[in-house]
């Protein structure tokens, strides 16, 4: 009973951050126009020598079209295609991300907004929706068209309803996970055709502002590429008197200094994006470029230098940023263009992020296997709880009785387990656990599985490639190294304000593990012809003759007499004497 209470408490602690949202909304300027658009680029040199560029575009739309009877037809900055989707399917909150590559937490630290490899979509529907599954199916198909992605492959076999891991990030107190749908497509490949529709959602398109930098030939020449769309209801002002819709479009990209730098350790906007900045988007109320200079001057040198500095606490760490305000003419200087230049000096080392997770398949052979999820808590003295969510397709038949959780070679009993077994061909396994991670420890979660033999039409066209299992999701409130500033002011950068924060001492982190590629027993698909021929022959010959044998009645055959004897017998019968044999 106590454990249950504890887990409830922890879950609430982890998830219930509605008030936080309200606080974060303070950054909306009350005096400005009701609809507004902000754009922002953060450049952060990473310890590994790579460079991380994160774009955020935020559109606020002052309307509440979910109210009964209200028909919305006027769209100013907000993309109409998305607005219509929201109202048609009664979406309360929508998060979609397309990622190519895997975020290397050990080298790069935590990203501002994490996302798993492939496509991820999670949607909270309004609680007036009666047929959630139907709405979800239609929604995925519509989004598939909007983003040119294979989201139409999302169906009930890869959709789950997490009970605790994904709570709404915006306003509203929805906690009934019947209105939540979560799905990932780990196989989805992200490329130019997904970028173009994403750029079209921006008010300025890719014509002006920061979006001119988004040229696909450079963005896809990188180590990591992730683009996302987040829509949620937020407060319009500090008092939260009226609601607004927030659309955040984010694009994260990590450039590899090693391959593209050709040995030279220097970087510029032009080198990264083959463009320089010349203006802000005219529709934007704010347009800024932040460069993380916390490690300056040991690690690198930035030019041109700017007197504008900003401090922010991001992911439990106080960072200092140089700010370039694109709405001001002096930012562009004499050349009327802004080209930031970074020159590396030192060499980076491996980071020790506080929370880190990885996953792999153990064992060999095509019958069974074991999924290992390893979660590291690198905090020297603080223990903290994490929520682990695992969604495994039905064709890996989990043996849930083999589930073990061990930390420091001792059994670690999860305080909350939510397990929904799979139904063959209908729904995947869903496993959610609240695990307490001891300080400075490695926690290993293992579960054995058996590989199912699929029907021959269920195999993909490339069955020998293997089958994907989506990333598991680790959500946690990680103890912060510095005190968090919950009292947001206006110039708080966008990237620090996505996930609302309630407590000063910890920050919310979501870590995705790598997806798994699992081989299933695969028949040789060139064989069916041979098999059909062989079986037909065996059936024809074997069955026919056995059936013949089984149904025939056997009689001992009397040897027939020679002709002479038969003639003699004929005469004897007439004579009435005994016959010859």
């Amino acid at each position: 009973c106590e454990i249950k209470q504890l887990s409830d408490c922890l879950i609430r602690l982890l998830l219930d951050r509605r008030d936080g949202t309200r606080t974060s909304e303070a950054l909306t300027p009350a005096a400005a126009a009701r609809d507004e658009f902000q754009e922002e680029l953060v450049i952060r040199p990473l310890h590994s020598g790579d460079i991380y560029a994160s774009f955020q575009f935020r559109t606020l739309w002052d309307t509440d079209f979910l109210q009964e009877g209200q028909k919305v037809s006027h769209y100013r900055l907000f993309p109409k295609s998305l607005g219509q989707v929201l109202s048609k399917f009664s979406v309360r909150e929508l998060h979609i991300s397309f990622t190519q590559g895997f975020w290397r937490t050990m080298q790069w630290g935590q990203p501002f907004i994490p996302s798993p490899p492939g496509a991820e979509l999670w949607v909270w529907f309004h609680d007036t929706v009666s047929d959630v599954d139907g709405n979800w199916k239609e929604l995925t198909n519509v989004l598939s068209g909007i983003f040119c992605a294979s989201l139409n492959f999302i169906d009930l076999t890869n959709t789950v309803q997490p009970s605790a891991s994904f709570k709404p990030l915006g306003l509203g107190n929805a906690t009934d996970h019947r209105f939540l749908r979560y799905a990932t497509l780990p196989r989805e490949i992200v490329c130019t055709e997904n970028l173009t529709p994403w750029k079209k959602l921006l008010p300025c398109g890719s014509k002006a502002g920061l979006a001119v930098l988004l040229k696909s030939e450079k963005l896809f020449h990188s180590s990591f590429h992730s683009q996302a769309v987040h829509i949620r209801p937020v407060c319009q002002d500090e008092q939260c008197t009226s609601k607004a819709w927030e659309l955040r479009q984010t694009l994260n990209v990590v450039f590899d200094l090693y391959t593209a730098g050709q040995g030279k350790k220097e970087w510029s906007l032009f080198k990264m994006f083959s463009r320089t900045l010349t203006e802000a988007c005219p529709l934007a109320t704010s347009s800024k470029v932040y460069v993380d200079i916390t490690d300056n001057p040991e690690l690198f040198e930035l030019s041109p230098a700017t007197p504008l500095l900003s401090q922010a606490v991001v992911l439990g760490d106080r960072r200092t940023y140089s700010v370039f305000d694109l709405t001001r003419a002096e930012t562009f200087g004499q050349l009327r263009s802004l080209n930031l230049l970074l020159r590396w000096k030192g060499d980076g080392e491996m980071l020790r992020p506080l929370l880190h997770a990885e996953r792999y398949v153990a064992g060999f052979g095509l019958q069974t296997g074991e999924i290992h999820t390893v979660i590291y808590n690198n905090h020297p003295y603080r223990a903290f709880p994490v929520l682990l969510m695992d969604s495994v397709p039905w064709y890996l038949q989990l043996y849930i009785h083999t589930l073990t959780v061990t930390s420091k070679s001792r059994d670690n009993k999860p305080s909350y387990i939510h397990y929904q077994p799979a139904k063959d061909r209908h729904r995947p396994h869903l496993l959610e656990m609240l695990i307490q991670l001891p300080p400075h420890s490695m926690t290993e979660v293992t579960v054995q599985f058996e590989r199912a033999l699929l029907k021959w039409t269920e195999y993909t066209p490339d069955p020998n490639h293997g089958f994907y299992v989506g990333s598991s999701v680790v959500s946690a409130l990680v103890p912060s190294m510095v005190a968090m500033n919950t009292n947001f002011t206006q110039d708080q950068p966008l990237f620090s304000s996505f996930v609302p924060v309630k407590e000063e001492s910890s920050y919310f982190v979501r870590v995705y593990t790598e997806p798994l590629l699992v081989n299933l027993p695969t028949p040789d698909f060139s064989m069916p012809y041979n098999v059909i021929c062989l079986t037909c022959t065996v059936v024809a010959v074997g069955y026919g003759s056995f059936y013949n044998l089984l149904t025939r009645t056997f009689q001992v055959d009397e040897p027939s007499l020679p002709l002479a004897k038969r003639l003699a017998n004929l005469i004897r019968r007439i004579r009435g004497v005994p016959l010859l044999t």
Partner: protein, 621 residues
Amino acid sequence: MGLLSDPSRRKVLTGLLTRLNTPICIVCYLAGIVWFMGLAFEPFTLRTYMSENAMGSTMVEERFSSGERALSLAKEFDAHKRKAGGMPVEWLVKAMQSRGLEVFTQSFSRKLPFPDENKERYMVRGTNVYGILRAPRAPRTEALVITAPCSPGNTNNQAVALLLALAQYFRNQIYWAKDIIFLVNEHDLIGTQAWLEGYHHTNITGMEYSPLQGRAGSIQAALSLELSSDVITSLDLVLEGLNGQLPNLDLANLFYAFCQKLGVLCTIQGKLQRNDWDTAEGYTHAAQTMMLMVLKQACGRSWGDHGLFLRYHIEAASVRGINSFRHYKTDATTIGRLLEGMVRKLNNLLERLHQSYFFYLLPSLSRFVSIGYYMPAFGLLAVILLLRALDLWVHLGAPALAPSCHCFSVSLQPSSPGVLTVLTPVVISHLTGVALYLLPVHLQEMAVEHFPVSETEAVVLTAIAIYTAGLALPHNTQRYTHRLILMQFILRYMFTLLKLTALLYLAVLLGCTALINFSLGFILAVTLVPITASITPHMPKALYALVMVLLSPAFTILYCVFIYQELIEAPVSVSEGWMLFLSVISQGILDHALYGSLVYPLLALFIYPCWLMFWNILFWN
């Protein structure tokens, strides 16, 4: 199917089979051998071709150019290896890190069941160093492995250096779709085994190792590199892996295609290809190459680091540089290019290698014999056992009907003592097999105490002693049978039954073996089938005992040793051959303990007991 229902026609057929049994068997045996030898004849074989589309038509351009740098790196590595007196772990970690890889180490230790005298090791302790080159925009689901063993002494420095040079070059390329793992393993196969077990989190051989920190998803293919000189004359491809497993033929095709493209001489089994297949020499050459492959595959050990990957369904091959006195030399840059090309093609793979054959024999690199062509050779040998069994079955059935008149009481119940008497030799011979499997390793301490031999010798000699002692067993079983049954007829019935059982048992054993490891099954069939098919108690005992011993599994191994030495053109004298034979036995036992090779248990627990059953028949009366 009229045969089943028509007794008279059935009688005719069985009559024909029993009457012509011996000639048919002889014809089958000869046909089997001739078929097998014909496999090496070029017009009967198929030309190899690339089945995998992803590796086929799209030729990649190789640009690797730092061969010279690799050679200077080899000198540096050599110096550090000498200084460290083993694997220079720190230097390697630094070297890989500076090339932009994620570097991890794994330490392992293994106590061998008995000292390995060939490699002079007993307590093995070592460290594997591996660096992962992360492919850009890839989600860590697939990986390729390039491994180079860090060998003691002067060998293999160039391989490690080339590996590092390739890592540096690969790091600067953007086209990788799969992560590439560069592994430098210590203590050759033991290190590889430790790494593979660590990577897959299994423990099948009792190895102690530290868990791996970095992984890169499922490994699609692996290449092992062995290179001990700055220039080479040819590259040798080694395919035979543990338990006779072979990688997909496309891997061999890939190697061959790149050798052709870059003009590198390539060999298999150390033998160059010849073009004159229509001459006697040409045929002999191909036959020798194929025989070498058969012998290597049959012995079930891993002939390179690649061999252990195969268990994990990772297609792998070893590439070995050979420096002979030939004039034509290839430099390190070209070898680097060859590897670059191969890795790039493997990187292009969309699925695991599965298109081409997994069961094949190679008379040369450009010709192959698929399972459909070589299996009949074995089938012809195996059918002899079935024919003999059929013959015995008919004989067993026929007198049971006729002599009921003069065997009044006994003939009614021949089955109850029959089963018992057949069971006794079967059980006894299998117990001998179990003793042969267990005792050599477990009794080594006792043997070392009582005899002036080393542990390795003790193990091998104990094995031979138990093997020989097994031959004395028939007399024991005979006494049992004497006590139970006295009548001549029953005795004959018994031995027929025993022989029938033994023949079917052998047929099943060889059949199963040949399915997994054709070469082993075929070699055993060639030696075991003639004597087992013909053995009866009514033969000159001394002569046939000698023949049986000469065709027993142990002597088969001895012959294989001599033939192998002959084929690799290093003939040995009888005493050297004997020493080699002893080391082969100890290696076989070690392979079983260290890597899980199954040949030793197969021979000890099944083949040898089966052979003992026939030995029993010879001394039945």
